[in-house]
Symmetry: C2
Subunit: 104 residues, 2 copies
């Protein structure tokens, strides 16, 4: 998955909203569609794109498809952004706090 593809995939607000909803819970395609003013095929297509990018994973169960975030798919994005870490200083303190939290 190229950087260009990752950015293109995430440039769509509906797809980012889908990721956000999946961040807190595993959901089916139909459940995901709730709250979106979008047709079922449109959602299906977005899901296919997210899956193609490795950003979500699928668990089939009968006629239901359950989706969840595949965080490792964000790796290219992390990696790209890291190239600009020389400019992070103002955020380092936050990171330090975060690490302290996680140590406990």
């Amino acid at each position: 998955m190229s950087d260009t593809d990752i950015f293109k995939v995430l440039a769509d607000p509906t797809r980012r909203a889908v990721l956000e909803r999946l961040a807190s819970a595993e959901l089916t395609a139909t459940e995901l569609r709730e709250g979106f003013a979008i047709s079922q095929p449109a959602m299906s297509q977005h899901i296919a794109v997210l899956r193609g990018a490795g950003l979500i994973s699928e668990r089939r169960e009968g006629r239901f498809a359950h989706y969840r975030v595949a965080p490792e798919g964000m790796a290219p994005l992390h990696k790209w952004l890291a190239k600009y870490r020389a400019f992070w200083p103002s955020r380092i303190d936050n990171l330090k706090d975060l690490l302290k939290e996680m140590d406990q």
Copy 2:
């Protein structure tokens, strides 16, 4: 600058390449164009987009326009990605190393 806009801006490989070149040095529009198989207006348009997104800043000097990275423009991206930091564990060690480096 919305998340959607930031992602759209960065989804273009030419624009990301421009940022990469500017990360190490301040350059003029013409200098930036070197190595790209692209017309002058095309580059000018990409620059306008990057500037509109707050990702680069301009320093005018006579007829020359010098550009450099405006790292704070990446903030929305950092912020968005941080929402998925719950999935970072495998990267925490790298962060710790990074912080150690920066403390010295």
